[in-house]
């Protein structure tokens, strides 16, 4: 596989949200606004790239029987580093994402890429894979956040487009499921056409 296709497959062919259906919890919970969606996506991207690099480097020497616990500890370490960084530099975002920052540890995208890609490929390829999948995840979250913010509070990235309250249900829990469901339908329809 060429370097370019390793990088770009995360956007459409192996899009983590719409095709692989991984990491649905943060996808649904943090996309109340487009900005939160982007923040969550970038936080996941950070952990994904670094853990992919380290795991591809240590994979040859990790015994097969304990590889899952070892990978989880590597991922948890980067999540803890991320928590410190976000507390220091983006305290507002850290607060609004809340529980879902530590929960990146159990995001199936990260462990999934470690298991399916990083443990079998070189360091550079793994970094590119992490970058591509992470960006694909960020874009999906941003689209979901955009739709929910626009319908739910009538704004885009915090800019008020029309006055009034919007349809509140889209910011709340049921809206998340509905919007993701319908976006997936749209994705299926467009992807089939190609």
């Amino acid at each position: 596989m060429s370097k370019l296709s390793i990088f770009t497959k995360g956007f459409l062919k192996e899009n983590p949200t719409f095709v692989l259906l991984l990491g649905l919890c943060p996808t649904l919970a943090t996309t109340t606004t487009a900005l939160n969606g982007v923040g969550m996506g970038l936080a996941t991207l950070f952990v994904l790239v670094l853990s992919n690099i380290v795991i591809s480097a240590i994979a040859p020497v990790v015994p097969d029987k304990v590889h899952i616990p070892v990978y989880i500890v590597v991922i948890a370490t980067f999540v803890t580093i991320l928590q410190f960084l976000m507390q220091a530099y983006t305290p507002g975002m850290y607060k609004s994402l809340g529980l879902f920052i530590p929960l990146i540890v159990v995001n199936c995208i990260v462990l999934g890429r470690a298991e399916a890609f990083a443990s079998k490929n070189g360091i550079l390829d793994s970094a590119l894979d992490g970058l591509g999948i992470g960006l694909g995840f960020t874009v999906s979250l941003m689209v979901l956040g955009l739709v929910r913010e626009l319908l739910g509070s009538g704004s885009v990235f915090g800019w008020k487009l029309f006055s009034g309250d919007g349809i509140l249900v889209f910011v709340m829990a049921p809206g998340a499921f509905l919007v993701l469901g319908y976006l997936m339908v749209l994705f299926n329809k467009l992807a089939k056409k190609e």
Binding site: L24, L28, I68, V73, L103, G181
Partner: protein, 200 residues
């Protein structure tokens, strides 16, 4: 009385799946059939309650006294992984048929964010029940909260599995088939559960 409030609030008002979005992946994954959904709920219920008990004690007597609370995430996930391994061994011995049915999803409880989410929630967040003052949970309250939360997860999963078995019999438009129609159904289910808000 307070325990009753905790239970009602955790099962209906703040349902972990339908209001807090924790544990969505296995929810979509195993809810295709009623029997696997029931088995999975039982396993999750056991793991959540037990792991919350253990992580609460570790946090209180090990991490907090030594100023190591930043290690919460790493310590908790290790405890949960070990517990899941144990449940797997026990289940293999007692009920091989259930073990077969749960298949891949049993080791995946480790990465079910509901488990880590509840464990982290009870040691970091302040709770209010029935207009009382906000406070950190005691050990008894934490375990009751964890148990009730997992019951709520089970309830949502079993309800949804029942709905999904009927969905299969219907003629669903092609792009909607599979996960999209499931998500739309969960959305409507979540809307129904919103009716409970305000009772506690």
């Amino acid at each position: 009385m307070e325990f009753l409030l905790i239970i009602i609030s955790a099962i209906f008002v703040n349902n972990i799946m339908l209001a807090q979005f924790l544990g969505t992946c296995p929810f979509i994954g195993v809810s295709g059939r009623l029997s696997t959904a029931t088995g999975m709920s039982g396993a999750v219920c056991f793991v959540i309650t037990l792991s919350t008990l253990v992580t609460y004690l570790i946090n209180k007597y090990l991490l907090v006294p030594f100023g190591l609370t930043f290690l919460q995430t790493i310590a908790f996930i290790l405890v949960i992984a070990a517990l899941v391994q144990m449940v797997e061994i026990v289940l293999k011995k007692i009920s091989p048929s259930l073990y077969q049915a749960l298949g891949i999803f049993l080791p995946l409880i480790t990465t079910n964010c509901a488990v880590l989410g509840v464990a982290l929630n009870v040691v970091t967040k302040e709770f209010t029940f029935g207009g009382g003052p906000a406070h950190m949970l005691g050990l008894g309250e934490a375990v009751v909260y964890a148990f009730a939360t997992s019951l709520g997860y089970g309830l949502a999963m079993v309800l949804f599995a029942g709905l999904r078995e009927h969905l299969d019999l219907n003629d669903v438009p092609k792009p909607f088939r599979g996960v999209p129609i499931a998500l739309v159904t969960v959305g409507i289910l979540a809307m129904a559960f919103m009716g409970f808000s305000g009772i506690v």
